[in-house]
């Protein structure tokens, strides 16, 4: 270790303390909810006096939550996959080609970031009523595609920017036509970016509440909407128990992605090669 003066050491301790405080602040809500989930009493209170696992059982058994979870899976899978295809193609076109109105189109694709989710949801609700589209899964999926598209687009675009064009040049110098280059070189090298984009979209879509509230019906309600409806009627800790399972599930998913692809690659922090 390099020699340091007392002054530098004090600065170092202050820095460490700051980081600790920030981390504690970040995990505070999750910690409170986790502790509250083990409360034996049928009210959300903190800290609990007696402890129990029973609200986990209740959350898992509750029909609306089960339905919401599976609805969420359907919506998330479809919307992230469609967003990945559409966003991926747009990212490719924006990265590789020059065309008029390019920046305008780019702006429109990023625009859901500035348009509030309830506006998107409300818009779709009005539109669906107008064209007579039933409030089935299609409308929810379309709505989610629009909401997650900017994130997917960004993710793929950044991966494409980081991709050294010499790989593609090398492939074409070896006789590979454009489609072959895409299939055997570009896509495999972009895989971490594509997976991270998909995962990001999936988590966002699964969590999305505001727009979903407008476009879902009793039959298609996703988990956050089901949770909202539940909390309007009941105040027991099964909500907290569900949140804990939610956090554990997401953490497991990210750990899984990390084990197979590397967290740096999935989150697009590292360069992909």
């Amino acid at each position: 270790m390099t020699p340091r003066s007392t002054y530098q050491k004090v600065l170092g301790w202050i820095g460490l303390l700051t980081v600790f405080v920030i981390v504690a602040f970040l995990i505070l809500p999750a910690a409170v909810v986790t502790i509250a989930a083990f409360n034996d009493k049928p009210i959300l209170s903190f800290p609990p006096q007696t402890w129990s696992w029973r609200w986990f059982g209740r959350a898992l058994a509750y029909e609306d939550f089960r339905q919401g979870f599976f609805n969420g899976l359907i919506v998330t899978t479809w919307s992230s996959t469609i967003a990945l295809c559409v966003g991926g193609m747009f990212a490719f076109v924006i990265d590789r080609y020059e065309f008029p109105l390019k920046s305008a189109i780019e702006g429109i694709l990023i625009s859901p970031l500035v348009i509030p989710h309830f506006t998107v949801g409300l818009g779709f609700l009005i539109l669906a009523a107008q064209v007579g589209l039933s409030r089935g899964f299609a409308i929810v999926v379309i709505c989610h595609v629009i909401l997650v598209l900017p994130f997917v687009l960004r993710s793929v675009y950044v991966s494409l920017r980081n991709l050294d064009q010499s790989y593609e040049h090398a492939a074409s110098s070896l006789g590979a036509g454009p489609l072959r280059v895409l299939a055997t070189v570009t896509l495999p090298l972009l895989l971490p970016g594509l997976v991270s984009g998909w995962l990001f979209a999936a988590i966002l879509s699964f969590n999305e509440f505001t727009a979903s509230l407008f476009v879902t019906s009793q039959r298609t309600q996703t988990l956050p909407v089901a949770m909202y409806n539940y909390v309007r009627e009941f105040a027991d800790p099964s909500m907290a128990a569900l949140s804990v399972m939610y956090i554990v599930g997401t953490a497991a998913l990210i750990a899984f992605a990390n084990a197979f692809l590397g967290l740096g690659k999935v989150l697009n922090i590292e360069q992909s090669h």
């Binding site: 050294d164 010499s166 090398a170 074409s172 110098s173 070896l174």
Partner: protein, 369 residues
């Protein structure tokens, strides 16, 4: 082979005919014409931004020319995409596919050509043997050293029997000792296969040691095209003289010119120099003499010499000694003098007053810029 200076389009393996290319407002290539003969190793040498890489990319088809035509084996390729040109290329960063093994990398170009499995395996093995990489088939590129990666890149480019081999600064990432051994090896393989090769570099030493012919480029033009010996011995202009090899520039004054021999005054001394590039110049015009470090000779003060000065730096290089001489006159500032052997270290110590004689018949003289 002995290449001729002016290859016609049909004879040349690769022919650039009045090719121009611009990027927005920047002229990258300004009407470049260059013919490269079969089996010839031609180097494009120049500082960054001179257009050498652009010329290579045009040959590869990564870029299209704005004007002029490019032909490979007599066939115009302006509108033929890269993947139909039958070229082999090595990249500065090797561009090995990181998700494929060594064998898969080398086999890639054979798969695109639909070479049957059995033949493909044999040719991959042969190519890896050629670059001395047997037993590495299943490694991934990141598990190889820089030199090994380069060999894979070479094998991958060679295995498809390309009509032209294009090399984009392939040695720049290697350390010095590995670089020179790879240079020799690449040249041996290239000769053995009789492969037409275009090599891009900014390293003049590399260009001198490897090329059959070299094209020295600057600002989108070819300043000189010739064998390394020609370019080193008789540079076409001051740019080439100072870019290729070490050179000293001395400011002199033209005294007289007659039958391609000129007399130039360097301070008090008169030297006789080649005058073919001075025709039409008036007497007493300023001229620049370019003198190679080895064309100087250090003599004891008092002996006949052209320039007087003192030793200000000694750079011992093992086989030779480079001395820097601070001049007392107005002809130039510091001279770089190369003295073979190692006696110079003791004979001309730091601060010693010395005289410098010039082997003037070999130096290059241009009108002063």
């Amino acid at each position: 082979m002995k290449p001729s200076a002016n290859l016609e389009g049909e004879q040349a393996a690769v022919h650039f005919d009045v090719v121009s290319k611009r990027f927005d407002d920047v002229v990258a290539l300004n009407d470049v014409t260059l013919g490269i003969g079969r089996s010839e190793f031609v180097t494009l040498l120049g500082p960054s931004g001179c257009g050498k890489t652009t010329l290579l990319k045009l040959a590869a088809g990564f870029l299209g020319p704005d004007g002029g035509s490019i032909s490979i084996e007599g066939k115009r390729v302006n509108d033929i995409p890269t993947y139909q040109r039958g070229i082999g290329m090595m990249f500065q960063n090797y561009a090995l596919f990181p998700h494929m093994s060594v064998a898969e990398n080398v086999a890639y170009g054979l798969k695109t050509r639909r070479v049957p499995r059995a033949e493909r395996d044999k040719r991959v093995a042969d190519a890896l043997a050629l670059v001395k990489l047997m037993g590495m088939e299943n490694r991934k590129p990141r598990q190889l050293s820089g030199g090994q990666q380069q060999r894979v890149a070479l094998a991958r480019a060679l295995v498809i029997n390309p009509t032209v081999l294009l090399l984009d600064e392939p040695f720049s990432a290697l350390d010095k000792s590995l670089r020179s051994s790879m240079q020799v090896e690449l040249r041996e393989i290239q000769r053995k296969l009789g492969l037409t090769t275009i090599f891009v570099t900014h390293d003049q030493g590399e260009a001198l040691s490897m090329s059959d012919r070299m094209a020295v480029m600057s600002e989108g033009r070819i300043r000189q095209l010739g064998s390394p010996v020609d370019v080193y011995r008789s540079p076409a202009d001051p740019f080439v003289a100072s870019f290729v090899g070490d050179n000293n520039r001395l400011r002199g004054q033209l005294v007289s010119i007659q039958a391609e021999q000129a007399i130039v005054a360097l301070g008090d001394a008169l030297v006789q120099v080649p005058g073919e590039r001075l025709s039409g110049l008036e007497k007493s015009a300023a001229v620049d003499l370019f003198v190679r470090p080895e064309q100087f000779r250090i003599v004891a003060p008092g002996e006949p010499c052209v320039i007087k000065g003192s030793v200000v730096a000694q750079i011992y290089q093992g086989g030779h000694v480079d001395l820097q001489i601070e001049c007392s006159g107005s002809v130039g500032d510091r001279l770089l003098v190369r003295s073979p052997g190692e006696q110079a270290v003791l004979r001309w110590p730091m601060g010693a007053p010395v005289g410098v004689a010039i082997q003037a018949d070999r130096c290059s003289v241009f009108p002063a810029a």
